[in-house]
């Protein structure tokens, strides 16, 4: 991925490598496509999980994202970042899943992630505080509208810059800027209401 800590040269190398794998997959090399899946399964799964909420729905959406990618493999051309295109697919599918979930009688409550949530080296009190913050953030993220949630996820977890996000979300850079500011403010206010010491 292309977070802030990665050098531009490194990002470009990975990008070239992604498209090389795409070219190999287009030539029928399924191992190359599998390598792409393995490379991006964690970030895509993470994005879907936070967007959709339910672990089962998120895995379904994430898998479908790669299936969809393969279906359009023949048409893919290296005109944009591979990850931009991939997250564009993931975003469309996730929004559909969110809409489907909204039609169901009872929306799934925010569920804790599967891994330990606090460094075992922390004191019990500190671990409890970290768990409290993470739980509040889970609920706060779920409270955001999908449009605000997705922009926050792409920025904070995928490290995308505004221009890349604008391409993924098919909106203007200014829209990214305002949505992100609004998302952060809503989340900040939510945590502040829960307890001023959370931030």
């Amino acid at each position: 991925m292309f977070n802030d800590n990665e050098s531009e040269a490194s990002r470009r190398m990975q990008e070239a490598d992604d498209w090389e794998l795409v070219a190999q997959a287009q030539a029928g090399d399924m191992e190359a496509f599998t390598a792409l899946v393995r490379r991006y399964q964690a970030p895509v799964m993470h994005f879907c999980r936070r967007m959709v909420g339910s672990p089962q729905d998120a895995e379904e959406v994430a898998q479908e994202c790669f299936v969809r990618l393969h279906r359009h493999l023949r048409r893919l051309q290296p005109r944009a970042r591979f990850s931009t295109m991939l997250f564009g697919i993931a975003r469309n599918l996730a929004l559909n899943a969110v809409r489907d979930a909204a039609r169901r009688p009872a929306p799934a409550p925010a569920e804790a992630m599967d891994r330990p949530v606090a460094d075992p080296a922390f004191s019990p009190a500190r671990r409890a505080q970290v768990r409290e913050i993470e739980s509040a953030l889970e609920r706060g993220l779920a409270m955001l509208s999908p449009e605000h949630r997705e922009v926050l996820l792409l920025r904070e977890f995928q490290g995308m810059d505004y221009e890349t996000m604008a391409k993924v979300l098919r909106c203007r850079k200014g829209t990214v800027r305002s949505r992100l500011a609004r998302a952060r403010e809503q989340l900040r206010e939510y945590l502040f209401v829960l307890g001023g010491d959370l931030l």
């Binding site: 899946v37 399964q41 964690a42 993470h46 469309n92 992630m113 993470e134 992100l180 900040r188």
Partner: protein, 222 residues
């Protein structure tokens, strides 16, 4: 009030991302404004907390399941509704689109364009390019009831689109992928279309995009 005295609360989000329009002014303001500095710190902490959240586990068999689904779908025939719809809608839509847009564009851009043009036949030189766009349309979340309705009345204006991406996809349909026949005395029209240059292709794509946006807005109002 000096420019640096203006509060920057609304600009802090972009500032911490390195995307602020006036980062130097914001930095100066933060040095002298406790309220904005406090909010700045809160947003920084919020980012740290967010990025510290645990990542979801990806099951080891994730990639295997993806590849199994791909293999399964490659071996299965396309759903019947998609086959029927692709056949019906691709032709209907392109006839409507080309009949509606090409004469308009030609009238606007060529003085000698005929007054009345009616598309009477259509041939797809690259059906896969067009069909691919429609397949993607239905994968983007069109309601199945609307799909059924479209099967009953495969007309352009009867479709709803839940994703704006379809506009872009259909805008990718290149004129050179389509051959048109017109019941017009001007036999040169066909060759005129063939002679469209890259810039004219871009104009066509823009027209198509506007057309679909207008259709969508009308559907939304309706």
């Amino acid at each position: 009030m000096k420019n640096d005295d203006r509060h920057v609360l609304d600009e802090l989000s972009a500032y911490i991302d390195g995307e602020a329009l006036e980062p130097a002014r914001i930095a100066r303001h933060l040095q002298g404004c406790a309220e904005c500095a406090r909010r700045h710190l809160q947003l920084l902490k919020l980012g740290v907390h967010l990025r510290s959240m645990p990542l979801p586990d990806v099951r080891p068999e994730f990639a295997t399941r993806v590849m199994a689904r791909i293999a399964e779908q490659e071996g299965a025939p396309a759903p019947f509704w998609r086959r029927r719809l692709v056949d019906a809608m691709a032709v209907a839509a392109l006839v409507a689109l080309c009949a509606g847009l090409f004469p308009l564009w030609l009238r606007q851009n060529r003085e000698a364009a005929p007054a009345q043009l009616v598309a009477t036949s259509i041939e797809l030189r690259d059906p896969a390019a067009v069909v691919g766009a429609f397949v993607e349309l239905f994968d983007e979340g069109v309601d199945e009831k609307l799909v059924e309705a479209a099967l009953e009345a495969p007309e352009w204006g009867h479709m709803h689109y839940s994703s704006e991406s379809i506009w872009e996809l259909l805008a990718e349909v290149r004129p050179e992928d389509v051959s048109l026949g017109f019941s017009d005395a001007d036999n040169n029209l066909f060759s005129m279309i063939d002679r469209l240059g890259p810039e004219e292709h871009d104009v066509l794509r823009e027209l198509i995009l506007q057309r679909f946006q207008a259709v969508d807005q009308n559907e939304t109002k309706g």
